[in-house]
């Protein structure tokens, strides 16, 4: 299973680079898109900005990783393996998770540079916790839905439509949590509450994926 991860990773180095470029470009776009005449302070929105960028970046990554597999016919090969379907899910999810994590690792310093101006270092643990939990949710939900969308026409367009409504609660928790952390209230109840929510949300989708992945990945 781990080998599958690594193999997927290596095969898609281009994806990592593209996703990183996308994320940084998106931040630049956001800066200009939200420029308020008179030089308003954007710090209120930075948490949200970061997560919007990550969510859309994740979508791109998911599309690419599955399209690659489908087109190359790798999927049939995978299915022939005497491996529990759920393991395939975990492998794919972990691969996506690692991608996302990698991107974030590279992008967060850039984000800090552009927007957060040194405020982040003080509250790193809370921030990391948020990121990890949110990433797991995005990866789990995204992998599950991408598997469904993969078999359809216009899968690039379909995945966002399926994914975005369901990721909104997660986005809200992550974005507002990040904003709270940046604003300095890292240990507060509300941040803890958001972490708890993310934990539950992740759990729900992991359970769902566990229960349905055999069906999702196809006959």
């Amino acid at each position: 299973m781990v080998r599958k991860d690594i193999v997927s990773e290596l095969r898609s180095r281009e994806t990592v680079v593209s996703m990183f470029l996308f994320v940084v470009l998106a931040m630049v776009v956001f800066h200009y898109a939200f420029t308020v005449p008179g030089g308003g302070d954007l710090s209120f929105y930075t948490g949200g900005m970061l997560w919007v960028v990550f969510v859309f970046g994740a979508l791109l990554g998911l599309n690419r990783s599955f399209a690659h597999e489908k087109d190359e016919g790798c999927l049939d090969g995978l299915l022939l393996c005497p491996v529990d379907r759920v393991t395939i899910f975990l492998a794919k999810m972990t691969a996506n998770l690692i991608f996302l994590g990698l991107i974030q690792l590279l992008a967060v310093p850039v984000f800090a540079l552009f927007f957060a101006a040194g405020r982040m270092a003080a509250h790193l643990p809370a921030f990391l916790a948020l990121v990890v939990l949110a990433d797991v949710g995005i990866a789990a939900l995204g992998t599950l839905l991408a598997t469904i969308a993969m078999h359809t026409r216009a899968r690039d367009l379909l995945l966002p439509i399926l994914f975005l409504p369901l990721v909104i609660p997660l986005l809200i928790a992550a974005a507002s949590g990040t904003s709270a952390v940046l604003a300095g209230s890292a240990g507060s109840v509300s941040v803890l509450g958001r972490l708890a929510f993310l934990l539950v949300y992740d759990g729900v989708f992991l359970v769902l994926a566990y229960g349905t992945y055999d069906v999702a990945i196809g006959e």
Binding site: I148, A149, R155, L162, P165, L166, I168, F205, A216
Partner: protein, 243 residues
Amino acid sequence: MQSASTAGAEAGARPAVPGLATTTAILAAAGVALVVGLVVGFWIAPTDASTLGFSQKIFYFHAPIAETALLAYGVAFVAALLYLRRGEARYDRLGVAAVRLGLLFSLLVMVTGTIWGRAAWGVWWAWEPRLTTFLIACLLYSAYFVLRGAVEDESRRATYAALFAIVAFVDVPITFFATRFLPAGLHPVVLGLSGSGMDHRDLIAFLISMAGMTLLFVGLLRLELGIEALREELRELKYRLGR
């Protein structure tokens, strides 16, 4: 289905929507309940003393419609589980009908909600829990139909639709509890944890309307399923005629 069409040919009778009589009865009962609910709500219950004033009366339909929409999505969830477990096409049909009606009711929630919002708060739209969560639900369950349209193989279509109906159902509890737990500010919490904050006459009107809406949902569901059954019969006939 075969007996239905041959019986129709022999008797010269019109092909029937299965169970139409019962469906009509249910719809009629729904209509009665809704009217009674409104009568109680408008003539018997007192005008709301809070800032909402008379506009509160919209509640007698708005809330039952909202709960019914969620009920519809719940039915779709169960239908999806049954379909995945047993593979019978009728569960898929039930799921489609339920989601369609869920969308219809969700649309009505949005309509009544925005009108109520304009009346109560002066704005046509506010990013407050119920409107927002129902908007998301509308978008989510619309995706259900987009998904169905994008899958060519029929059996796969049903499977994926069922999967999505199951995953999408996660949104329902969130939608349900959003008005209760999120710091709403604007939206009045009606059936709170501490029991109903309503005058008992309001409550009666609400419950009657709720019953009416549920009956309406059941009736419309039967109607949808009946139409689907007719469509099946049509497909069967076409097949037999070699078309």
